[in-house]
Amino acid sequence: LKRCQISMDMHHIEKSFHRIKNTIQMKDVFQNVTILSASETLYNITPSDVCCMTKDVLGLYVDKVFRNHEESDPRIQRGLSTIANSFLHIRNALEQCKNQRNCDCQKEATEKFQIIVGNYEQMEVKAAAIKALGELDILLSWISRNYRPKATT
């Protein structure tokens, strides 16, 4: 997000998810299916495509995942609300970046995002939402890696 500077407290989001990770992931009974499928989509995204991919994936979560999930446990609900609000804030900021032509989507990133959407829509709505929520650690790790200075060896 080098050209598109967004302030986000990743630790706060990571900690919110860390508290509910195991409970959410245990509700996902489809162990041999994945939506974000790290190796096919998120990983080896070029730096210039990171902004667009972040905006699109956060959009998927804000517009579909959080809406399609009904949660009865208040502790889980609190955690998910914290994450949803953070994603909404980041996505809206990235939309503004897009309007200023700083967050353009190239063909490869668009294709990879379509794989993610395809994976999501192949599943039944509620099962897909639960799986996507259980994969928040994949998304958060990817965002963490892409918005931190590279290590000097």
Partner: protein, 221 residues
């Protein structure tokens, strides 16, 4: 011949124990079968892939752990491990771990700590721990490369005054100035990554004596 899945109790507390991405599956014997000649068989699943995979080195073993580091080497993937108990012709159902994310859950081991004493100072050089290697000839991958935000919590303890204080640093070299000469100090270092509570193992205490004060030595002569 395959065992018969009967009412044999499952292994319990099946978890991954991970330090610097050395990922070991461990469990406890099922209730009521401790001390008997029960054996275990292990499988693992790469999250999102179709089939559970056998770990041949952990088929019919009598220990309660199995090193899956080789099989879970890609720390950007997530994994499940499972184990079942076998006793004669009978076997239990599988007992599974929660989804294991090495990048999030591995424990950061202690750095290598090199100390150099001065008269009233101690210089500290830290070398980040290395990721577990598939074989010795492979190039080392520093945990600092995997976690660019890796930091160090360095504590120093004056054995004469029992006074202890800390420094939180990101770079690999630091100095403790304004110390007492000819005094034994003990230093301990813990590497950690900000964010979700990743456990971290502190280094052992390393103690060193600062040099004698040369000026007072001259007066004595």
């Amino acid at each position: 011949a395959p065992c018969v899945s009967s009412g044999l109790p499952k292994p319990i507390n099946v978890t991954f124990s991970s330090v610097n991405m050395k990922n070991v599956l461990q469990w406890n014997s099922p209730e009521g079968l401790r001390g008997t000649d029960v054996v275990y068989t292990v499988q693992y699943l790469i999250y999102g892939q179709k089939r559970w995979l056998n770990k041949s080195e952990c088929r019919n073993i009598n220990r309660t752990s199995c090193d899956l580091s080789y099989d879970t080497y890609d720390h950007e993937e997530q994994y499940y491990g499972r184990v079942k108990a076998i006793w004669g012709k009978h076997c239990s159902k599988w007992a599974e771990t929660e989804r294991f994310n090495p990048w999030l859950e591995t424990q950061i081991g202690p750095p290598v700590v090199a100390l150099t004493p001065g008269e009233k100072s101690i210089s500290v050089v830290l070398t980040a721990p290395e990721k577990w290697k598939r074989n010795a000839e492979n190039n080392s991958v520093s945990m600092h490369q995997i976690y660019p935000t890796l930091k160090y919590n360095v504590s120093i303890y004056n054995t004469k005054t029992n006074k202890k204080w800390y420094k939180f640093v990101t770079n690999h070299t630091l100095e403790f100035p304004q110390l007492e000469s000819d005094t034994l100090y003990c230093i301990r270092v813990q590497a950690y990554v900000p964010g979700p509570r990743r456990k971290a193992k502190p280094s052992d205490n390393q103690c060193i004596t600062t040099l004698k004060d040369q000026t007072s030595e001259l007066k004595v002569k």
